[in-house]
């Protein structure tokens, strides 16, 4: 096979490779998003904002103010009754700590190990695409899932918010007022920021997935790592290491709702996610390209 590649006309190689990569990516996306497991995960995620919206609606149906005076629960809950758009922010801050990363952990953990345990990994490797590109395609499809999952939450929250509550001009958390259009733009930016927040964890899940041949074990380990790190991040005694834990800056997306936007923590979050993606992505590559595939 390598003989054939070497003797091929050099000009046609690059487009052929690109075509191959696209082909793998397309088939990866198709396998990911056609699974019942993926669809039901997305369904559960879509249900969360609807539930929050209905709960707030019922609780404040008699004209009482939203949320307890001190503002418990997820952020922005007290503003939801006045502006349905805030349901997007409330839903994202409610799902980001657990639901979203758990779904991503399931998909990422299953990506390689699932194929291995199903016995299909061998056949994937028969295609002359190479392991590196197969891994990149796997990672890309996990990233697409991150974005789709976040957008599903945001879209379902927007729909539920618009149906259950009034919408209109948005008051930023700094107390200034912006138009509904700009509010929507900010909501979009926030959804992207949340999706990007998950990229580091997705790379970690992919790495775990290359370590084992059991899909369930990889998923459990990935979600276990998530929970452990979240607990570590909540311990005040470990203050010194907090800035290096991947969930530490997750909630920084709320800074996009300030006026003017406060970008320091968002930038730090992006840097941290890029670092995790680089470290665990290369670790996954090192493991996957040197692994003996026997099943």
């Amino acid at each position: 096979m390598s003989q054939a590649e070497l003797t091929a006309v050099p000009v046609s190689r690059a487009p052929r490779r690109a075509l191959w990569s696209l082909g793998i990516l397309r088939s990866e996306l198709a396998t990911t998003f056609r699974r019942w497991r993926t669809l039901s995960l997305l369904g559960v995620l879509a249900a969360v904002p609807v539930l929050i919206g209905i709960a707030v609606r019922i609780e404040t149906g008699d004209g009482a103010r939203g949320g307890p005076g001190g503002g418990g629960g997820p952020a922005f809950l007290s503003q939801v009754t006045n502006n349905g758009l805030f349901l997007v922010f409330a839903a994202l801050s409610a799902t980001l700590p657990v639901f979203l990363p758990m779904a991503v952990g399931v998909i990422a953990g299953d990506s390689v190990a699932g194929e291995a345990s199903g016995g299909t990994l061998r056949y994937l490797l028969v295609a002359p695409a190479g392991r590196t590109r197969l891994l990149l395609a796997k990672y890309a499809s996990v990233l697409v899932f991150c974005l789709v999952a976040t957008l599903v939450v945001a879209a379902s929250a927007l729909a539920a918010g618009a149906l259950l509550f009034p919408v209109g001009d948005v008051t930023t958390i700094s107390g200034t007022r912006i138009g509904f259009g700009e509010g929507l733009v900010r909501a979009g930016l926030i959804a992207v920021a949340v999706a990007v927040s998950l990229t580091g964890f997705a790379a970690l899940g992919l790495f775990v997935s290359t370590l084992t041949d059991s899909g369930i074990a990889a998923m459990a380990a990935t979600v276990g790592v998530l929970i452990t790190v979240q607990i570590l991040d909540a311990m005040p005694q470990l203050d010194a290491v907090h800035p290096y834990l991947f969930p530490h800056y997750w909630m920084s997306f709320t800074d996009l709702l300030r006026d003017p936007v406060y970008g320091d923590e968002v930038a730090r979050n992006l840097g941290l996610q890029a670092l995790y993606a680089a470290v665990f992505g290369s670790a996954a590559w090192a493991r996957f390209t040197t692994k003996d595939i026997t099943v």
Partner: protein, 408 residues
């Protein structure tokens, strides 16, 4: 090379080569992590190393510069870290501060309650000022923000977490004005500087100690130190912007060493005119607005204002609030009216558990004054004697006990 062949074992001759190449791949993630760690470790160190070169200046000239500063427009980000050695007030402030929380008589958006939270931990603040009439101060929380906006005669407080608004009509005195250049009393900056240095006198040393970079600007460091020993305050450092004379950073180091007790400084500062929209505030739809007048009236009705007034009256009744010592070592002696001090063991005033709790908070000491309990924080120590006197000061425990002894 075809990427797929790396895991194929092609026979014994190439086996070791392949093995070595396999192992080499694992270097990549470690290299990435190593480079990142080195960058995180080295970049701040490199950025810090260059103290700016500025012409020499005396302490008096520097104080003149601060006093002469007429910078009225400014915006920036401030980071405040406070470590007073007292338990975190984050949650406690709500329950201790009068008027805080969701009680019927209070508003969570009133400034006093919120500013209390700054007394412990690290907070990021944003400030903006445009002349004496327009200021804005925001405390950035997790997914929430508390804004205090002063515009003309109005002072607005907005807490985004609870969606509550606090409103007060100010008489133009500029309650939220933090960065107003001092004006008035001593006619010229020069006089003020002279007066300040004279007041410092022989108890305090005021020096200019080199330069520093604060928020990307060149600044002089003014160091104020007590000359006497026995104070818990080691030094106060103020970094002053070299070109505008605006104080940029304030650090209070305790004499016991360790982390600064108070460290407040700009991380970003801009001396341009801030956006006018940042000073406009209209209460958002559905927010609960509390007027300061109503708050007072309501508090009066519920009796807490009366109580406060009574407390104040009681304070005046104190048999002399004596100040022992001078300068940095001043210790205030307060006699609690009609008070025996802490209930002592066996006095039967307090249940044993409460007694144990108080004992756990303070240390028992004895001295010329008798015996008592010392409550310590990093800056302020207090001695509560068994016969009901309280000595408070920013002095060490030994100095406090000595002061109490001499006062007897």
């Amino acid at each position: 090379m075809a990427p797929n062949d790396s895991a194929e074992t092609n026979g014994e001759a190439t086996g070791t080569v392949v093995g070595r190449r396999k192992a080499a791949r694992y270097i990549v993630p470690f290299a990435v992590a190593g480079v990142a760690a080195a960058t995180i470790g080295l970049v701040p160190a490199l950025a810090d190393s260059g103290d700016p070169e500025l012409p020499d200046i005396t302490a008096q000239e520097l104080i003149e510069k601060i006093a002469a500063s007429d910078q009225e427009q400014l915006s920036g980000t401030v980071k405040v870290t406070t470590d007073l050695g007292i338990p975190s007030l984050g949650g406690l402030a709500g329950s201790f501060a009068p008027g805080a929380g969701s009680g019927s008589g209070g508003s969570g958006a009133s400034p006093d309650a919120k500013l209390m939270e700054l007394a412990s931990g690290t907070h990021t603040l944003r400030v903006a000022a445009d002349g004496p009439d327009k200021q804005r101060l925001s405390i950035l929380g997790d997914g929430s923000e508390y804004s205090l906006v002063h515009n003309g005669d109005d002072v607005w407080g907005y807490d985004s977490e609870s969606n509550e608004v606090y409103h007060a009509e100010s008489d133009g005195s500029g309650k939220a004005g933090e960065h107003k250049a001092p004006k008035g009393v001593p006619a010229t900056p020069k006089e003020l500087a002279e007066e300040a240095l004279a007041a410092a006198g022989d108890t305090t040393s005021v020096t200019v100690d080199g330069t520093a970079q604060v928020a990307g600007r060149d600044a002089y460091k003014l160091v104020i130190k007590p000359k006497q020993s026995g104070s818990t305050i080691g030094s106060v450092t103020v970094a002053v912007d070299a070109s505008t004379g605006v104080p940029l950073k304030f650090t209070l180091a305790p004499s016991s060493g360790g982390k600064a007790a108070v460290d407040a400084g700009f991380t970003k500062v801009d001396f341009g005119k801030p956006d006018a929209s940042s000073f406009s505030f209209t209460p958002p739809k559905g927010a609960e607005v509390t007027e300061a007048d109503e708050l007072e009236a309501e508090a009066g009705r519920s009796g807490s204002a009366d109580k406060a007034r009574k407390d104040l009256g009681a304070l005046e009744d104190f048999k002399g609030l004596n100040v022992i010592g001078e300068g940095w070592n001043a210790v205030a002696r307060i006699e609690v009216p009609g008070g025996a001090g802490l209930p002592t063991e066996g006095s039967g005033d307090a249940p044993a558990q409460a007694q144990q709790f108080l004992d756990a908070l303070g240390d028992k000491v004895t001295g010329d004054f008798g015996s008592g309990t010392v409550f310590k924080t990093r800056l302020v120590n207090a001695l509560l004697t068994d016969d009901g006197k309280v000595y408070v000061g920013a002095v060490t425990e030994d100095a406090l006990v000595k002061a109490a002894g001499t006062a007897k």
